[in-house]
Subunit: 485 residues, 2 copies
């Protein structure tokens, strides 16, 4: 790249001794060069590689700085095609120059921190979802535009209702077909996430202090949400078949509820066999317990047909189905849903009347068409093939590189693989320590033990493979091996 073009970056000087991380220093100095006009709009910037070399810092540092400059609108372009100073800077950026008082500076720094939170690069084996690089955004954007060009009035006013009716119809049809759940749109409530579905159901079903049975190990997020709602959670052990039915005589204030993951236990990943399912349903009917079936990841089963949902076996109307689009679409969509037994529809309407909905109407019509037109199912099928290969790559790499250190259960479903520490490894290191060491090697690995509430925790890691190509997976496993051996 001609020297003239990035000569201005010669003025950049980073000091590892100073408080702000190097990437923040770099981000701030380049930003100032742009705001002061010494870097001109549309001017090309050196590649992150070249710049890292010039400044003698790691490429992670230059990448992080560029990512932040990009996300704040100072520079444009993507890795590969190169980065340029933004053609037009939002006016409010220019204001920053004039605001050199403590607040602005302080806030600027905070922006940095917060911004990082938002967009930390997704490293293997982050389990936060699907490979968004493979999502059909062109089509998605077309559907959004179409649905808002001249929206029906009801789309603009709905606020205390169950959600956009065409979406509820599409979900009902999808669930009937793929999960065997006999339901109609009238039973579907659109929510903003699985967690919001649970808190919505708590408010609909239970009073403060009522008992909620949760799986142990399970979702820390759900534990927190329940505590936040003032529910009395009862940790219930999980065995090889999943949720273990509590003692019938166990004194528990009715009404109570249990939140379980029969399709694929979270985090351990086993599927609840039919016999156990019937046992759970009998218990629910006998004790008047509501069963909240969290059907997360059910789309991704790589061997054989997916089992029908627990709700499809329910004859007593005690099962409530909770689903989400965070993993089948993308997390920030913030759309989930509940399938209610008919008997609960009126109570749910009262809850909505009191609390209103937090589900935005914005994406609902587009999602309705995405599902009804079959594109959603097609996307899932495509991802299923891809994720299956990726899980295979992960297992093979682990068997080759980490045999003896990690125990890898035979699972062919889901978007993450739980692996357990061998005695030898567990003796050397805890899974939470491992997380820190692995982070140093650009490997994200969620420790298993924090998912235990009262049971004796097992040491292990949850490895999300869905978002990473086979070569990314193999490379990351090699880095893991170096750290753990």
């Amino acid at each position: 790249m001609p020297a003239a073009q990035n000569a201005t970056l010669v003025s950049v000087a980073l000091d590892a001794a100073q408080a702000p991380p190097l990437y923040v220093q770099l981000f701030e100095q380049v930003r100032d060069l742009i705001l002061s006009g010494r870097l001109k709009p549309r001017q090309r910037l050196p590649s992150t590689r070249a710049l890292a070399k010039d400044l003698n810092v790691s490429r992670t540092t230059t990448l992080a700085a560029y990512e932040q400059l990009m996300s704040e609108g100072y520079i444009e372009g993507r890795e590969g095609s190169g980065a340029y100073v933004a053609a037009m800077l939002p006016e409010d950026l220019l204001l920053v120059r004039t605001r050199s008082d403590g607040v602005a500076f302080n806030a600027q720094a905070l922006d940095g921190i917060d911004d990082r939170e938002e967009k930390t690069q997704i490293l293997p084996f982050n389990s936060s979802g699907q490979d968004v690089r493979l999502f059909p955004f062109a089509e998605w954007s077309r559907l959004l535009a179409k649905s808002w060009r001249s929206p029906r009035p009801e789309l603009l006013h709905q606020q205390r209702g169950f959600g956009h009716l065409p979406l509820r119809r599409a979900i009902a049809a999808h669930l009937r077909e793929l999960r065997g759940v006999e339901c109609t749109a009238a039973q579907v409530v659109i929510t903003s996430s699985a967690a919001q579905s649970v808190s919505f159901l708590m408010r609909t079903l239970l009073g403060r202090g009522d008992t909620v049975f949760v799986e142990d190990p399970g979702y820390p997020t759900i534990y927190r949400a329940l505590e936040d709602l003032g529910a009395a959670t009862v940790a219930t052990p999980v065995d090889a078949q999943g949720f273990t039915v509590p003692d019938y005589d166990r004194p528990s204030p009715a009404p109570s509820a249990a939140i379980i993951t029969p399709s694929r236990q979270y985090p351990l990943g086993m599927t609840m066999p039919l016999a156990r399912r019937l046992e759970v349903l009998n218990w629910a009917e006998a004790t008047g317990t509501w069963i909240i079936e969290d059907d997360y990841d059910s789309e991704y089963r790589y061997v054989g047909r997916p089992l029908s949902a627990l709700m499809s076996l329910d004859r007593s109307g005690r099962v409530i189905y909770v689903g989400s689009f965070s993993k089948s679409m993308f997390k920030s969509l913030r759309l989930g849903f509940i399938i209610l037994p008919l008997a609960l529809i009126d109570r749910a309407r009262d809850t909505l009347y009191t609390l209103g909905t937090s589900a935005s109407a914005n994406a609902q019509p587009a999602l309705a068409e995405f599902i009804a037109s079959g594109q959603f199912a097609a996307h899932i099928r495509r991802m299923r093939r891809i994720y299956s290969e990726r899980q295979q790559s992960l297992r093979e790499a682990l068997d080759t590189e980490l045999a003896g250190l990690l125990e890898v259960p035979r699972q062919s479903a889901g978007m993450h693989l739980p692996v357990f520490f061998s005695k030898e490894l567990a003796a050397r290191i805890s899974d939470t320590q491992a997380r820190v060491l692995l982070a140093g090697a650009d490997v994200t690995a969620e420790p298993l033990s924090p998912h235990y509430k009262e049971m004796k925790p097992r040491q292990g890691l949850l490895l999300g493979f869905a978002a990473f190509a086979p070569d990314e997976i193999r490379a990351a496993v090699l880095r893991m091996a170096q750290v753990l051996k």
Copy 2:
């Protein structure tokens, strides 16, 4: 219209003696004609007027039935241009035919009910928001499409952050300019509504049972949300200047908070003068009370410059600003925001980490550009002129038609006008009774008295004028007069 074309509707027979409302009977019979193929795709239907005449029912009935058929995709077209059988019926509709079991039928009826909730025609003087007929949806749809064609990764993963940074920057700039609030993006948290903002702040600031001062009269929704969170609400009288500062010595467990509406008291509509604002700020500083400033409707002031927000006067960092886009954009967008004092940023981050956000990322980049490009401000300016005329039309019509019965305060702001019953009218009828009678005349009027919590309620009505053209307003006032005289 040629007889042949709607001959099939001759078979329709409604029975007022039967349980389902007439519009549901009509909806179901037309639906069956369509599903059975006796009404062909693209076939024209009689106008709601003609059909009402044929069937000897009110036009409201035929309108309601058509609205429901339309919203469920059985028929197309709009009032005026006439209605047609949909060219293509969603496949799941066809399933309905084969599902004549109790569940399906029952659920179908429930759909009807729920659907009505969603899309009850917005009648004057519904105060649920702006005139969506005037919103630039073509542009909005363009921005949505643009923002999702190739979204930045951070847009897809953000879940526990403060929201989309460009939107936070745009809001901060907008607030600095229009409301005089010295803030930066780092202080902005994107939420899904004002109510969610309040519950988010309660979780950030207070523990269960802490005291929250609320205005009386005020927002029933907020009362409910607070009770739901287990806060101890203290109803605080509102006088001619708005929120009255509680007795300093009043024993109240710190930390506590007060939720107030200084720009325009809800529901009474007066603006808090400077002296009272300073009094409130002194009280907050002296007692360590958090002030949550709900700045609803502040965009709409028709005489003089809008007063700066209370937060802009705050020197002790006790004021938290809460805003929403429900009225400036449209309700179902479900986007609101909080401006935090710098001192609260870290605590808010913890809350978000625990609870996650319910604000969808879907509309955030589009809204960011809508604001940053100045289109939002332009839309507000345009609406301001229009709403000002409408408020004028309403006041004039009320003075002409209902002088002596209703007392109309001199207000030139907001999207609704509170009117008070004269002694004579109050002696004849309560505002809640009036609501029912007016509904019979296709007039929606929210009664004032339910907004009082402990204070002696005044009888009155809240008349939303923003969503209705002057002639709609005058016609509705005439209907009001007939009912109330």
